[in-house]
């Protein structure tokens, strides 16, 4: 076979089909472990409820440091498994995580406010909201990333 010749229609069709299959396999490989989204959501919820925990614990900052450390370990463990470096390209892919961080900080502030007002048990509400939003947000963000991989 002369490799410098243009392929015929069946060969071209076959090559395009192979590229499609490779894209699908790559897309599957970007799927993060199933535990990642709920684990990070749980860590975020724990962090949001930390003003209440600090109230119980005299060693104030230990829970925040522990939460950050666990989050870093979970993310690194999950990131090392895909063999891909991706970067969200569309604007919505960037706005999602930014909105999530702003929401997280807002919930954290609300928790502080609730503890300061003597309504410590109500911290459960922003913690649950954080858990649900972070979990759903991460799932949607991952879906968007996979869609961009095929675009």
């Amino acid at each position: 076979m002369n490799t410098t010749e243009k392929p015929n229609a069946p060969t071209a069709q076959q090559q395009l089909h192979t590229l499609e299959q490779d894209s699908s396999r790559l897309e599957k490989s970007t799927r993060r472990p199933g535990f990642l989204a709920p684990a990070l959501a749980l860590i975020a919820a724990f962090w949001v409820s930390s003003p209440w925990l600090k109230n119980l614990d005299s060693d104030g900052n230990s829970s925040t440091y522990m939460t950050s450390l666990i989050a870093v370990i979970v993310v690194l463990a999950a990131a090392g498994t895909t063999g891909l470096r991706t970067r969200p390209k569309s604007r919505i892919s960037w706005l999602g995580p930014i909105a999530l961080v702003i929401g997280l900080l807002a919930c954290y502030s609300i928790s502080h406010g609730l503890v300061a007002s003597g309504l410590a048990w109500w911290v459960v509400v922003p913690a649950v909201v954080t858990f649900v939003c972070v979990w759903r947000g991460l799932v949607v963000w991952e879906r968007l990333g996979r869609a961009e991989l095929r675009s």
Binding site: K6, P7, A9, T18, L19, D22, R25, L84, R85
Partner: protein, 107 residues
């Protein structure tokens, strides 16, 4: 829209597939390429060398937490030249598949 353009370097099936894998991501790990293409590492290295020599891809080596030894992990990323060549070649393949089939000569 990309101009359909035959590319001799990318025309080789495995090189086309390597460019296809790297086209929509920042970088792909060397082992991920080997696993996806299901060919030996030596074959992938040979084709990567050709693509690198033509400036279509670049290979960066970084240390990784995923490795227990001190060896570095190779990351393959497509260059702008490689992206243009790949898009042009794929456009050419699509053009070929859309062309009407040749009519058999009448006797």
């Amino acid at each position: 829209m990309t101009e359909p353009r035959f590319d001799e370097v990318i025309h080789a099936p495995l090189r086309l597939r390597i460019c296809g894998l790297t086209r929509h991501v920042d970088a792909v790990g060397y082992q991920r390429i080997v696993d996806t293409l299901e060919v030996s590492p030596a074959v992938v290295s040979k084709h990567l060398k050709v693509l690198t020599e033509h400036g279509y891809v670049k290979v960066d080596k970084t240390s990784s937490l995923a490795r227990s030894d001190s060896r570095k992990v190779a990351w393959v990323s497509i260059t702008d030249t490689g992206r243009d060549a790949f898009d042009g070649h794929v456009a050419m393949l699509r053009q070929i598949t859309q062309e009407p089939a040749e009519q058999p000569a009448r006797s």
